[in-house]
Symmetry: C2
Subunit: 469 residues, 2 copies
């Protein structure tokens, strides 16, 4: 899909019209068809234009979802699950129309099992709401994609973020999901045991399936004890390579980095301007250690010695919640800092992830591309995972710039794949990256298509996403 | 399946006979049909009787596997992948006959990527051979199911073992697999990036599929830095509950336990007798910490204070490789200690795994069952995961004892499922637990069957295992 294009799929007009009528009868005020609400439910944070669903139903229970799915199944009408609408690849768009199921009213925390370090939640609970609820337990849920996303949506897209280097992604932290399947059956993918060999891994099949196999209506998540001490630091380097080599050495030495984020010098300039900070305009690592007092002291000492070896300087460590929050807010505001840097632009999200040994080279070649193609494209990266986001800032009415951005993204994704990596480490395929699934997976893409056919033979679950037609 | 029964599936006699002829032509001395070799390839370590394949082919490459699979696909002949034959649920049996593919000659370590903390291996490499090869790199592969299993087999059964509480299971440590699918296509499930959101999780679909979707011919595994210090300890309690509560508190406090193994007093008596040790006959934890010097000191101190709170006593910590090896050898020899305790018996493997809050209760009720049913059944447990093996020691020619053991296992598996756990934490379903898949998964078992149908429409891949007919 080109940046300004929208793939439009054939619409089942009569089915949609009948299903909307039937659902209206059943759900009354829970169903809305206003233009503004439908727009809001196909809005994405990115450049991808909206494709509106025909109606939005606000589900309040698994039974509601089951009933909506049964009606849609009967009339072969598309279903698009909706959480907070913060997906970055058009996951909530409705290229063939259909029913958006809004899950925000399903926002109960069903249980917190402190001894088991897990909790059971409805899909509309956001990660911030969960952590707020957990405050008095000494536990927390670490996955933090930046946006205050819904946990159901995070599971559906296999999200991660800054803490993944220590705590894993949604892949490692979802113990089970309950989902309504395309024929209306309710399936729970596993029990609450922390490990299982009882047959095929249905949990991992649902995590990252982007709503194309079913609608998640409940999920069990791993929790962690809040560490005794958290220390955050900022370390600046002369080169991206120095920052990457420091990270590699830290990981080989088994340093339990809780976060390690790279910003290139352009991105540092942008956050300086946006957040009133005064970092040097150099490649910079923002990082954090979690642990006991003595352990964190030791980790800081080891990290400092590694960083020094690769030209790192000016490391300052802060422990207080206030100082840490200020530091991470600057990192989390990177996206807004970009947009403010070039007013009127769109930031085109990219999400390459490569083996860490190839990260510095991948970033360097991609920065060269940006220069050659005359694009403004700052870098932030979850460098411990080999995942980085270089974001061309594009004026969408400048056809030449749009074309150059397309060329840039094409090169980046092919480069990541050629380096034994992936075009998407944490955003998902959605509509935006469908073309690259086949390039990346080869015959695996055929397997994916046969899974889709087996799980959703009528192709009603979020059609036009991942490998669905 | 009752303990002494064997489910026999219909045999495709003419297909098998033709396929063996064709393969003999092609593979010559790589194909064997001697009785002893066929017996060895269906032998399991457990009570499950052997069901012989019709021929064994020793594959030397992915291309060999591909050719064998194509021939078997053409004549609709079962394929049973074989590693070291240490699976515990009849995974290598051939209930419908067919071709056993022996993968032991595919034992090359293809690459070790030290900076990326991963390696690429053929499926016949054993975990000990890999760690031997890694010795000079400062890296290691932690998953340790006890037996010196092949890494392909460990991936196929989603194995784990004593280190899972810290390092996860094969689920968390397989980055990708290359597999020959039932139609002969070669599929690589993912690239080497440490995380990916690029479509459905084919890697996790293959891990734990027990050879029912395809034959793994290559895999990429995560590696870890060898910790600066390893300390192992033994701590004895008055009750299983005290040992469990100490474990729960340690995990809530974020203590990075690398191993924590429970032995009940009966099992302690057995290892004392077998290994010439002198532990008190009390519930006992064997545990291990990995980390830097200061961190391990701190962890030991915290653990000691928790253990004291719950009546733990006599903790002794050892650091030297020799002393640690002696300690863990006693734990790893638990199975042989059991068999020696009651000469002539078979140990019936069980593998319940429950949320840790329910572990002490689950063990206590199961021990009561053993007493009520007059069975000798010692307990070892990966207590940090909520996973325990209670092993009735049964004289297989005593029909009454066999019947009581069946009743015992039935109650145990139903109890684990009722406690939101699973009948198998790490052994897999194989033939032995097929009946429990449906009880545990409900409608999920139907989804599993439709996946099996989509992946292997002719049901040639390890038929009669997991949910296959």
């Amino acid at each position: 899909m080109a940046l300004n294009d929208l793939e439009v799929l054939p619409r089942n007009e009569s089915g949609i019209s009948t299903a909307v009528d039937v659902l209206k009868q059943r759900f009354g005020e829970q169903l809305k068809t206003s233009q503004s609400l439908r727009e809001q439910h196909s809005h994405t944070m990115t450049y991808i234009p909206s494709q509106l669903p025909d109606a939005v139903v606000f589900a309040k229970s698994t039974e509601d979802v089951q009933e909506i799915v049964r009606v849609c199944a009967e009339y072969k009408v598309p279903i698009i699950p909706f959480g907070t609408g913060t997906s970055l690849e058009g996951g909530v768009n409705a290229p063939a129309g259909g029913i958006s199921i809004d899950l925000n009213d399903m926002n109960k925390i069903i249980s917190v099992n402190e001894e088991d370090l897990d909790c059971v939640v409805q899909p509309g609970v956001t990660r911030e709401a969960l952590n707020e609820h957990l405050r008095d337990t000494g536990l927390f849920f670490p996955i933090d994609p930046g946006a205050n996303a819904s946990l159901g949506g995070m599971a559906a897209t296999r999200a991660s973020g800054t803490n993944a280097v220590r705590y894993g992604t949604m892949r490692e932290n979802v113990i089970n999901v309950t989902a309504v399947m395309p024929d209306g059956r309710v399936v729970k993918t596993a029990n609450r045991a922390r490990k299982t060999s009882a047959g095929y891994d249905l949990t991992k099949l649902m995590v990252g399936s982007e709503g194309t196999f079913g609608v998640i209506t409940e999920l069990t998540l791993r929790l962690y004890g809040i560490p005794e001490r958290i220390s955050a630091g900022v370390c600046q380097f002369d080169s991206v390579d120095g920052a990457c080599q420091t990270t590699i050495l830290s990981m080989q030495a088994g340093l339990p980095l809780a976060r390690i984020e790279l910003l290139d010098s352009l991105q540092v300039e942008m956050i300086n301007a946006y957040s009133g900070l005064e970092y040097e305009a150099k490649p910079t690592l923002f990082l954090e250690f979690h642990g006991t007092n003595a352990a964190v002291d030791e980790q800081i000492e080891m990290f400092n010695s590694f960083a020094e070896e690769f030209g790192g300087s000016g490391v300052q460590w802060v422990d207080s919640t206030e100082a840490r929050n200020k530091l991470w807010k600057a990192r989390h505001d990177a996206y807004y800092a970009m947009l403010a840097w070039r007013p009127g632009c769109r930031g085109i999200a990219t999400d390459a992830c490569v083996p860490i040994s190839k990260l510095a080279e991948c970033i360097a070649q991609t920065q060269s591309d940006a220069e050659e193609l005359n694009l403004v494209a700052p870098v932030v990266g979850h460098v411990g995972d080999g995942n980085f986001h270089i974001t061309p800032l594009v004026m969408m009415d400048d056809a030449d710039e749009v074309a150059r951005a397309e060329e840039f993204i094409e090169r980046l994704n092919l480069r990541a794949i050629a380096m034994e990596g992936t075009c998407t480490g944490e955003h998902g395929i959605g509509q935006g990256k469908r073309r690259f699934v086949r390039l990346e997976h080869g015959a695996g893409a055929d397997i994916m298509m046969s899974l889709k056919k087996a799980m959703d033979p009528d192709n009603i679950m979020n059609p036009g996403k991942v490998v669905g037609l």
